[in-house]
Symmetry: C2
Subunit: 433 residues, 2 copies
């Protein structure tokens, strides 16, 4: 198998090969879904007792009562204080930058008054309470906790309740430290579908939330899908993706490493480079061959690049932007001169990293924007996680006496047209004779 | 059975009775879901041929080819021109007001530059193409077409593709007229799960869209749920709801008719009044008894009020606001003096209608705000349909030379902490020695 796929837009079968490369269907496992349905029903019926049972079974934590699974905030603060100074400073600096960026996303209530005194507007309010799922074990990323919790806090959510499984009772100190830095309000050592159910329906001990966010395994994803409607949920993320557009003047090693930084997440991750310069593509391929053996996660990177990665020769940077819009990537690096010029041609991307300095890794951790981004072409219709996901709007309508006369006549005419006479009459009651 | 339920917050069983009244579970019919899955798969595999077959079978329209199901825009314009003058004027006035309100929702791209020259921001772009489902038959509401299409057009969506079933080949002239007024770009006479599938996957003739919005029957709802992820969808709406808070000084007939205007939609619709004045609740009950027999849709209204409606006596308007927040109603009327004061206490509601003049019917048709609103308590975490549903955001990051030095060190520290060495190295490559 080749190290990485090579494509050329001039080939007759280019479209077909690209489509095959991009194809990704979230597999929904029926047996997982059935198991999750049973767990959710049980949590709904038996509450804390069910949560305790599943925690005993799946996490091997035998708690005397549900209260014993509460992680005191003091423990989180202690974990933060115990961090090596450099790591604490890095986490706090990242949190500060993420907070500052997200503060610019906060929407405000607005109203306006029409000539006849009628007032219209939109009231913006935060969600009351949000559940934050944080995976246990290897996939426990403190940066991900910051990216999910901070927008909620900036939105003004009064209570962010974190749940995180602690297999064998082992608590991850980095996660606890990040919870303290993000200002999480409660932390409970439960996970899996049982934690999602407890947050969605509420139990005697665990409060029902209004929305559940955060990554998780297939069980957590299935549970979130099932409780959607009872609570809000964030996107169910697919494998991570990077698309790099390069003019051929960035050091090939940099580009190779940027592709690696996505590929190292997961064998299903996708890393693609678009460049008009065939010689540069060769150089990047050589850099990949040279650097890959030096990487600790070489197996994952190699599998990702050979199955789903590609170096694609394009006619020019205009064509590169067209293809980027077709792919609608989660992460788009524009490693060229005047990157703003090309960014202006991009209609669909989760995040756009401009210039040769802006490696995607900077955005993952600390540039400020969120790293929870739409995957699998959903950037065509969705956005990065943001403060707007933790605020909602209520329309405001205060019709004046005069307004009731003009609007009442319009509403009455339309309501009669739609065969809804009570609508018509309730408007007509407000008409002055 | 009583005309309408009476509750009192001082009763010991109030909470329990209220919860029972509010209980609503969207029933998901497994046989409908299976049928829909088959139709979607068939449309995906056979494209236009499958769409034609289902249209023949379900709508009894035997088209020679898929092109014959295109509704020319000229036909829509002709339907508009053929409207009675008063009805056309009412529809156009409503459209103009809805457009003006929604223009205030349009988000703009923003950026800011940090001290070291790093640029951060958010690029806002419209969706490329949106599918708009418009039901056929009795539930074809031109006002609903305006409310779904106009926010998309205001957002800048280049192509709004309407689909609408035409059982027996009968096209609804009001729907066609509304399509012309809203500026729909294409109209195709197909419906059901086959139309949803065609829009989601695309066929040789029907272009794939990025998002599908608009109401529909159980088959349409199941199809939308299934294609979610391939395309965006709007909310799946539950039965309509109104909650009225009244101080007892609005004419009881007005309040009764406002409750009717929600109840006439559907036997499962919910109409509730909160008032501290027991005598006023009696007057409203008498008005209901007197007015109900005069209503053309008395059967539906009666069924809705007796099963899901309620007159609730509260201690005061503060308690009324607490209960409103618990109910998180789709429509909330505050029929009191100084309604803004009480609206400020409301955290969860789809739309807030303030003052004795502002009957909910005005908002349904022509006040300006959208009438597609969150139902079934989802106002706790979601918003009215708006321009924001047809725009999406891409994060913008352009790190300066100096920024790459500070951010690179932070990212490197955090990436090593998370065991992601390619992330760390791609940041470190940008560090100057």
């Amino acid at each position: 198998m080749a190290l990485i796929n090579r494509l050329d837009t001039r080939s007759a079968d280019f479209r077909q090969r690209l489509d095959r490369l991009l194809a990704y269907e979230a597999s929904e496992d029926a047996s997982i879904d059935r198991a999750v349905a049973d767990i959710l029903l049980d949590v709904r019926n038996r509450g804390d007792a069910a949560v305790l049972d599943y925690t005993r079974r799946f996490d091997r934590v035998d708690a005397a009562g549900i209260e014993a699974l509460e992680i005191p905030l003091a423990d989180c603060a202690a974990a933060r204080d115990a961090l090596p100074a450099a790591q604490r400073a890095a986490l706090e600096a990242a949190a500060e930058r993420v907070r500052a960026y997200h503060e610019r996303q906060r929407a405000q209530t607005w109203t306006y008054t029409e000539a006849d005194g009628t007032v219209l507007g939109q009231q913006v309010t935060p969600l009351d309470r949000v559940g934050l799922y944080v995976p246990g074990g290897k996939a426990a990323y403190p940066s991900s906790l910051l990216m999910n919790a901070l927008p909620a806090k900036v939105a003004g959510v009064a209570e962010v309740v974190m749940v995180t499984p602690t297999p064998g009772g082992v608590r991850n100190p980095l996660v606890l430290a990040a919870a303290a830095i993000a200002g999480v309000d409660r932390a409970i050592a439960i996970g899996g579908a049982q934690a999602v159910g407890a947050l969605a329906y509420g139990t005697a001990y665990i409060p029902a939330v209004d929305k559940i966010v955060g990554p998780g395994n297939a069980y957590v994803a299935a549970a979130k899908r099932r409780v959607y409607g009872t609570v809000g949920i964030d996107m169910i993320a697919g494998p991570s993706e990077i698309l790099v557009i390069c003019d051929g003047a960035t050091p090939p090693d940099w580009i190779a490493m940027d592709l690696f930084s996505q590929a190292e997440h997961d064998e299903m991750a996708q890393a693609i480079l678009l460049c008009p310069d065939a010689a540069f593509l060769d150089q990047v391929e050589q850099a990949i061959a040279r650097l890959l053996p030096t990487m600790p996660r070489a197996d994952i990177i190699g599998a990702s690049l050979s199955s789903r990665g590609a170096l694609i020769q394009v006619a020019d940077l205009f064509e590169a932007c067209d293809i980027a819009n077709r792919i609608a990537p989660e992460h788009l690096e524009i490693s060229t001169d005047e990157p703003e010029r090309w960014a202006g041609l991009i209609r669909h991307a989760g995040a756009i990293f401009m210039g040769r300095n802006t490696s995607e890794a900077l955005g993952d951790y600390c540039a400020g924007p969120n790293h929870v981004l739409p995957t699998a072409r959903t950037a065509r219709f969705s956005s990065p996680l943001g403060v707007y996901d933790f605020q909602k709007r209520s329309s405001l309508i205060h019709v004046s006496d005069a307004g009731a006369q003009t609007l009442g006549r319009i509403a009455s005419a339309l309501a009669h047209g739609e065969g809804l006479p009570a609508h018509a009459r309730s408007a007509e009651y407000r008409l002055k004779p």
